[in-house]
Amino acid sequence: MGYSLDFGWLAGAAGAIARGAATTVLLIVVTTLAGTFLSILGAAGKRSGPKPLRTAIAAYVEVMRNTPFLVQLFFIFFGLPSLGIRLDPILAAMLAMTLNMAAYTIEIVGAGLDAVPRGQTEAALALGLRPRQVFVKIVLPQALKVIYPALTSQIVIMMLESAVVSQIAVRELTYEADMLQARTFRAFETYFVVTLVYLGLSMGLRRLLVSGGRRALGAGVS
């Protein structure tokens, strides 16, 4: 029995796929902004905060990096309601993705901070800049430039990982794909198309991040 490909359903499904892709993009935009912001705070806190804060951040990083994303997601979505905290699927997904990504990027940003020579801080302080100005204007841009490739990789990985949130009925790309597959039973064609969409999204995302990084951090970002 031969299997014949049939893409006849695709025209009717294009809207669903586009909506799903848009949700995936929304998820990753929110996660990237919130996650990067959190990880800068976290990395700075881990280096110069008070001892309890440093311990707390270290514990957070260890817990998030050593447990599966799916379990974290289920904990937030199915577990927290027993404590009276009920989040919409999309909010639960954004929260889980942000918390998960921040744990990884705290370490990445931290490595960048460590790579900036101590003399930079000393020179800036000697010129009369306040400590906060030194961090934001002198240390952070140099640190981000060093770790930019690692950061973009992590963001792309997170976008691909976002497929997992289809499990809590967030209508993102994988959810729509599963749904189309369940309606048409055309598993090969459905996932073929969706694979191409993911491929396009991650390539586009990477280029966008690189060109955005060049603009914000100057030449030499790749």
Partner: protein, 266 residues
């Protein structure tokens, strides 16, 4: 340009995969394959009480398992249970990872892809919600959040029946559907009423109750198209269970009610 090259090689890889998918497979009769393997692979849900779910000793038991065992016995082979989900089970069947599927409700869409053997179990699809929420019919589903198992007959019949403002949330298995409902993530859920009754008996705080029946449709045994010998063997096994009262026994044991053959008609 680098990007274009990467894209080209990606597309080439995809096309090769596609060609592999198209390659015709040597065709053998399913009954011969089963006899040769000495076992029949039966796709079941593992979280679908009382039809099939884990018992106290963690082995899967239930009405479906009784019937599957009888079919295996009639073919004189070992029964090999394969856990599937509502969404992946039809591909599991067409990819021949399983020989037959239990608990498949009839639908036109499914008939285009698979074949149906005898109906063997009554099945009703019910809308279940907490006592305090007033839901009497399809129109009351508007603006409600409803959990359902993706790709099942529940999903398709709910999607058809519910007004467009209903927020249908589809999960991958019965467990997640029930969890979503119990934890309050959705206001209602749509499952087979036997499934609902067994699980919800324990939920005293929520006081869930059956709101109304969406559909009555007996469960069939699903198998691949053009497997007439296997279909006949399955039909004979079910007919024998009906004739010698075994099916009635299973019904009393699991569904807590004698089997009414009228409920096996589509």
């Amino acid at each position: 340009m680098k990007l274009r090259n990467a894209l080209k090689s990606a597309i080439a890889a995809m096309l090769m995969l596609g060609a592999a998918g198209l390659a015709t497979q040597a065709r053998a009769d399913a009954v011969d394959d089963i006899a040769k393997a000495g076992a029949i692979n039966v796709g079941i849900f593992s979280d679908f009480p009382p039809f099939s779910s884990a018992s106290a000793d963690m082995s899967i038991k239930g009405y479906d398992i009784d019937v599957a065992q009888a079919i295996a016995d009639s073919l004189k082979v070992k029964l090999n249970l394969v856990s599937v989900t509502g969404q992946n089970r039809i591909p599991y069947l067409t990819d021949k990872r399983v020989d037959i599927l239990m608990s498949v409700g009839y639908s036109k869409e499914r008939e285009q892809v698979i074949d149906f053997a005898a109906a063997y179990a009554p099945y009703y699809i019910a809308v279940i919600g907490p006592a305090e929420l007033a839901v009497k019919g399809k129109d009351d589903l508007a603006d409600k959040s409803i959990a359902v198992n993706r790709g099942t007959l529940e999903d398709t019949s709910l999607t058809e029946a519910a007004p467009s403002s209903a927020d249908i949330r589809r999960f991958d298995n019965y467990n997640s559907v029930i969890q979503a409902f119990i934890s309050g993530q959705t206001q209602l859920m749509v499952v087979g009423n036997d499934v609902g009754a067994q699980v919800l008996a324990k939920q005293e705080a929520l006081k869930p109750e059956q709101k109304f029946q969406l559909l009555t449709s007996p469960s069939h045994i699903g198998l691949n198209k053009n497997e007439d010998r296997l279909k006949k063997a399955v039909n004979d096994a079910v007919a024998k269970m009906l004739a010698d009262g075994k099916l009635d026994e299973s019904s009393k044991a699991w569904l807590k009610t004698p089997l009414n053959p009228d409920n096996l008609k589509d």
